[in-house]
Amino acid sequence: MDLYVAAFGFGLVGMSVIAIAAVGFTMQFGITNMINLAYGEVMISSAYVAYYVNKAGVTIWVGMIAGALFGAVFSFLLNRFVYAPFQRKGTSHIGMVIVSLAVSLMIANLLLPIVGYYSVSYQDTTGGLLRAGGIVLTTNQIAIIGVAVVLMLLIHGLLRYTRLGKAMRATAANPTLARNCGIPTQRVIDAVWLITGALCGLAGVVAAMNSDSFAISNGAGFLITALAAAVLGGAGQPYGAMIGAVIIGLVTELSAAAWAPEYKEVVAFGILVLVMVLRPQGLLAKRGALAAAG
């Protein structure tokens, strides 16, 4: 029983990490209509940026900001110079998926000679232990939960109460109509890539902090968990992604306690398959993964 209580604690941290990643991923898809399979690789690149900042003797919290900035700029450039031109050319959905997969392969392999094959970890004190009724977490892990909660509230505020958020929702619903209403959709989409890129970078650093060590090969795993949460919640739905993250985070950690930790991603995949069979549209979306009617 204690094992499961402790696992619940780790689940809280896990869902925070997944939520940051999944909300960024799902917003990219929902607003720019781009399934960015390079997302996991951008996460891991940002984690490495934070690693080098951290290695230079700066605390990891500054490294986190550096990672977020890197993720924002990198994603923005990726869209500007690769995705957007292809989309303008009229490349099909499937073509875009293939392009993003090629980009993902390129990022991973350009990074490999620079950072090496070996796993690295941040050099930072993990902080003291905090205990609360069987749950044992380090102060760093508590801080990760805090960061995630603040970010989710900020995203909520952005989407509900700002002009930019309103413009984003309009662009997501119907880009042509949004442009006809005088919304500068191009600039909105640029802003989306910057914001979601920052979330992606942050998620990468946080995910790397939460695992003992990380290497390039972790990128695929990061992508799978974010994808699973996003699809579970209904693709393109930020609130759905939050719910998806809570479920995936809890289930994967509890299954790690009950079964075997190396199968965490397999469990995430199992949930993904179940969702695709039973409710392809996800928990919140009306259409989601279902085939378009025409």
Binding site: I35, L37, V82, P85, F86, K89, T91, H93, I94, G95, M96, V97, I98, V99, L101, A102, V103, L105, M106, A108, N109, L110, L112, P113, Y117, A220, G221, I224, L227, A228, V231, A235, A260, E262, Y263, E265, V266, F269, L272, V273, M276, V277, P280, A289, L290, A291, A292, G294
Partner: protein, 330 residues
Amino acid sequence: MNSYYAANLLVYAGVDIIALLALNLQFGVSGIVNFSFIVFQAVGAYAAAILSMPPDYAQGYDFQVYVGGYQLPFPIPWLGGAVAGGLLAIPVGLVVLRKLRSDYQAIALLVLSIITNEVITNARPFLNGAAGLALVPPPFSDVIDPNTETYQYFYVAMTAICVVLVFVVVNRIVNSPYGRSLRAMRERELAAMAIGKNPVQLKMTVFIVGGVIAGLSGAILVGFIQLWAPSVWLYPETIILFAAIIVGGRGNNVGAILGALLVPVGFEEVTRFIPSSFGPPGLIPALQWVAIGLLIIGFLWFRPEGVRPEPRHVFEGAPVREDLEDARAT
């Protein structure tokens, strides 16, 4: 030139051609983005391996653990590999191809590929985990000594027969009325449905046929290289095959063969001549992958139809779009 090298090259080329003909049928002709294609090849290889290997407690094999080990004679492992590929396609197809939108299908298959590899790597008792299976007996190894030149060319000949067989079968499918239905589905699913085609049925059939051929290609490969491990079927291997299809020409079987010779075979051969001492360790393979990525993006941008574009299937005497536009202009 060393004859082993030549035989090696020819068998690899044959296996890649078979695999690409299958992928072209799925992706090029029918528009199914099978990002877990390599898994079907892997299943065929594993099936062929355990069908031809002795049980894992046999002398000389007791350093590895695996299920099965039936020591069956030649055609059975290859047929078994093909059947295994087809059998795997049924549950995967039922989950993925029925309701999902095409881009979700692609994602689901990609994730499946990553996860399957992870499971096989971690579940050691099943297929010996990350170390993989070694000492897979080559076909007819009890009749002819596999370490002779004759055997090498014998293997090349067997591969060539399979290539011809697969080419004939796939060509028949592509150029038949059935192939026309597949292309109609790829171009506009709704229109294909309107004239009474059942896209789920079409996709499932193509998925299974492609799975069978992919399984066969894996069986041929494992009989030749005699080992099979998770590291040889990581998901980027599928991306190489997609690059080959895109370069060769989507929907064109000759293009698929050309793509096989240009991308998987050509790349390996070209980089063989770069001294391995060049740059830090691992630089050359990494740059090879970057080049594959650039190849895909470059071709999709500059020549999306590939080197050998798909032939336009037009009935003799039927008005084509250009004629109609000309007629309207005059």
